[in-house]
Symmetry: C2
Subunit: 197 residues, 2 copies
């Protein structure tokens, strides 16, 4: 049973990952269902077992991002303080986004969130993203590395606001510069007041 669930999870995640690769390479419109099932090595039936349509896949960006957050956490250097951990996380994820996603895809997802045209799950409070941020910030407040006159929730929200601002700006500049390098410079400026002096 354990194995069955694990296998299911793997197939679903593989479909998601392969699809986003295709969306970035060929564009969302030009990616066909056939491209997706070929690339994931599955049947049409298997695809429809997990997803209603190609459009449904647009709501899975958070799955992809969270997978990367888990990777990055494993690779996190041990000697960083809490503030540095947050900056490292941001730098790695924004580098990942900048290098692997067409800015138009990201822009469309963010715009859809704003106008509530879809039920994007980037804001789902159960995301790994929120759990890792909560953990690092809570730790940082307890050991005196982050200011503690804001609640953990407020600081997580502020961190999210900063990231969203940087990604949005990158999109509005047509992805012309490196999202990772720009964030490396700007994120400590935007979030720096949260570090305890």
């Amino acid at each position: 049973m354990e194995n069955e669930m694990e296998k299911e999870e793997n197939i679903k995640e593989r479909i998601i990952r392969k699809s986003w690769n295709l969306f970035s390479q060929k564009g969302f419109e030009k990616t066909t269902l056939n491209d997706i099932i070929m690339s994931a090595g599955i049947s049409k039936g298997t695809f429809y077992y997990y997803f209603r349509s190609k459009d449904t896949l647009l709501n899975t960006l958070s799955v992809i991002f969270d997978e990367e957050y888990r990777n990055v956490e494993e690779q996190m250097p041990a000697d960083l303080d809490s503030f540095e951990k947050l900056m490292y996380l941001n730098y790695r994820i924004h580098t990942y986004i900048g290098e692997n996603f067409d800015y138009r895809l990201i822009a469309n997802q963010y715009a859809a969130q704003l106008t509530k045209e879809d039920a994007s799950n980037l804001l789902d409070k159960n995301r790994f993203y929120f759990s890792i941020l909560n953990r690092i910030i809570d730790e940082g407040q307890k050991n005196g590395e982050l200011r503690d006159d804001l609640t953990v929730t407020e600081m997580v929200k502020l961190y999210g606001i900063c990231e969203r601002a940087l990604v949005t700006d990158w999109c509005m500049n047509n992805g012309e510069y490196s999202l990772g390098e720009y964030s490396k410079k700007m994120m400590p400026l935007l979030f720096g007041q949260c570090r305890k002096k």
Copy 2:
């Protein structure tokens, strides 16, 4: 001739101002062209002299905002330093937006910018918004109140990123809290690193 131009400007601005009042009160869809010409006290012909359609008016948000920036500048207390001036400006404008605009209208404009569905002029470099920010930041760097290891342009951009982040977040929370009061708390956190220590 001077008077003619002034008069034209006034009519155009009145149409814009009255229209946005109506959009916020009744919603954009439910506002008719008739509502607009009645409210502005003009004929249909006069409306079409200035605007192609009701839709065209959506691109005039920057005109409204800049009008308010001019008002706020006139009311700016004389004893503020450059950083405080920037915070005052932000607080006043965000209070104005929060109190006068339906969050859905703002969300749609910001989303449209992201997906380039329209040529919104909020980012037009000739806006009064950019000129007043440039002026205050340049002054602040020269008299040592703001850090000078970023260019004026970089700092104006950062200020814009922060404001956009706060407005976006307010929209995503369905305008549930006061944009002005939230910004009063958050803007000094987000932009605080630009103050010279």
